[in-house]
């Protein structure tokens, strides 16, 4: 299926995403910070990135802009607990393809991932 990168510093959420996405047949790699993910992108390009916004060090918003500035046009889905419209607008304007607020429904998240992958293909 697809190669998915998850950038999430909350251990339980990251683990649950890994278990569920692997269960759906995807290949999953988890990074606890954005810097590690950006470094990884220099060697390997996944099919989709799930990016948390509130991360230690570089936040998800900055990481997204950096990723786009590097020329990657892969689909990026932002994950965050914050619902304010300003943040959503900023993320979508910054190049995000989708925006999911926590706590999310695992089935809905997977459906959104499938939709993004379909659009990208």
């Amino acid at each position: 299926m697809a190669r998915i990168i998850v950038v999430e510093d909350e251990e339980l959420i990251a683990t649950m995403l890994r278990i569920n996405l692997r269960g759906a047949g995807h290949e999953v790699q988890v990074f606890p910070c954005a810097e590690d993910m950006l470094e990884h992108l220099e060697h390997e390009i996944p099919d989709i990135v799930l990016l948390d916004i509130m991360l230690p060090g570089m936040n998800g918003d900055e990481a997204l802009r950096k990723l786009r500035a590097m020329g990657h046009d892969l689909p990026v889905m932002m994950l965050t607990a914050r619902k304010d419209a300003g943040l959503k607008v900023s993320a979508l304007d910054g190049g995000a393809d989708d925006y999911v607020t926590k706590p999310f429904d695992m089935a809905e998240l997977q459906a959104r991932i499938r939709a993004l992958l379909r659009r990208n293909n």
Partner: protein, 388 residues
């Protein structure tokens, strides 16, 4: 978007965000300009009046000079002429600018204003000028002070709103994050069967998240109570050694793999006056803070000692530390000096504020010190030693 257009849009956004400050700032400036202009206008009016009085005096003198010039025997004393009490005879060289107009046809004799008249005119002019200038300066000062106070009030209100928005954003994140993990775990367990050895560590993580949420809720409630000054504490003499030993044994704060090393240098039976629940909340927040900012160092220390009439409890970490000048800033509500901590250890920025508030309510003190960034931090809770 092009450069100048971008700048214009940015300026318009800034104006939109700060419209109240800009509106009141401009209003106060206009008011100050109006008062200045009014004071200048009144002063000019007073100058005109001053000149007019001399002009009036000159006309009066000219009239009497003409009158005296037609008298065959002019009186020795001018005061005998009705209405000429402001004038006196003077030698023409002493009569200043009145000389030509006020020659009453007596050789070298002119009319001049009396000394008393000139003194009165000048005194009134000085006093009115001073009054106008004083009132103008006072009004300007009051407007500027009011404007400055108002500006500070608006700035404080703006800061408070920003802090509150920031707090709610953090609270929302802190509340939703554990729920997200636990919900994802429950949904997964509902949808698929996982091996027991895989489930157990996940359950432990989920329980940690629930503890974290419980602590957050307690802190929020405690913060709210403290703000309203409604927290009822019940200080009583308590044996600190026993309390601390029990506290360490039943520690509810996650140490995230760190080691808590204690050194209790307390006399047997040594007591302090405190409320055990409040003391537990203070220590929880201090230990939690040490875990958050403990950096890569695995050790946290909890020490206690008696120092005269004070009993001191130190919570020491060897992590991120802070600039010694920021020692008070760490207790400011909703503030965090470093964002480099992982988010599972981030909080609302209220823990230390609450801890200090409680320490003060117990009649004690809570202070922080650090030798600098990267050199760890020491938080010292001082409580009054109970006489035995």
């Amino acid at each position: 978007m092009t450069g100048p257009r971008k700048h214009t849009t940015g300026a318009l956004r800034w104006l939109g965000r700060n419209r109240h400050t800009v509106f009141f700032g401009v209003s106060f400036m206009l008011l100050a300009a109006l008062v200045s202009w009014w004071a200048i206008y009144l002063r000019a009016l007073e100058m005109d009046q001053h000149h007019y009085r001399y002009k009036e005096l000159r006309l009066e003198a000219r009239f009497f000079a003409s009158l005296l010039g037609h008298m065959p025997n002019p009186p020795e004393d001018l005061e005998s002429l009705r209405g000429a009490e402001h004038l006196r005879y003077a030698r023409c060289e002493d009569s200043g600018d009145l000389t030509v107009a006020m020659r009453p046809f007596h050789p070298e004799t002119c009319l001049a204003p009396s000394e008393e008249t000139i003194t009165t005119i000048e005194r009134e002019h000085r006093s009115k000028s001073m009054m106008v200038l004083g009132e103008g300066a006072l009004s300007l000062f009051l407007i500027l002070v009011t404007g400055w106070m108002f500006f500070r009030m608006v700035a404080a209100e703006h800061r408070s709103r920003t802090e509150l928005r920031d707090l709610w954003s953090r609270v929302s994140h802190e509340l939703k994050t554990p729920i997200t993990g636990v919900k994802a775990l429950l949904q997964t367990l509902e949808a698929q069967e996982l091996p027991r050895e895989e489930v157990l560590p996940l359950l432990r993580l989920a329980l940690e998240q629930v503890d974290r949420q419980e602590r957050l809720t307690e802190n929020l409630l405690m913060g709210q109570h403290l703000e309203r000054d409604g927290t009822r504490l019940h200080p009583r003499p308590m044996e600190l050694g026993i309390f601390l030993t029990e506290y360490i044994d039943g520690l509810s704060v996650s140490l995230a793999g760190r080691r808590l090393v204690s050194r209790l240098d307390l006399p047997r039976g040594g007591k302090v006056r405190a409320d055990p629940n409040a003391l537990r909340v203070i220590l929880d927040n201090l230990v939690d803070n040490a875990v958050k900012y403990g950096g890569d160092e695995p050790e946290i220390r909890l020490e206690a000692e008696v120092d005269g009439s004070w009993t001191r409890i130190h919570v020491v970490d060897f992590g991120l530390g802070f600039d010694p000048g920021d020692a008070e800033l760490v207790f400011a509500a909703y503030r965090r000096l470093a964002d480099e901590v992982p988010s599972e250890r981030r909080g609302t920025g209220m823990g230390l504020t609450i801890a200090r508030g409680l320490a003060r309510r117990l009649g004690g003190q809570l202070n922080a010190s650090s030798d600098g960034p990267g050199l760890g931090a020491r938080f010292t809770l001082s409580l009054e030693t109970e006489e035995t």
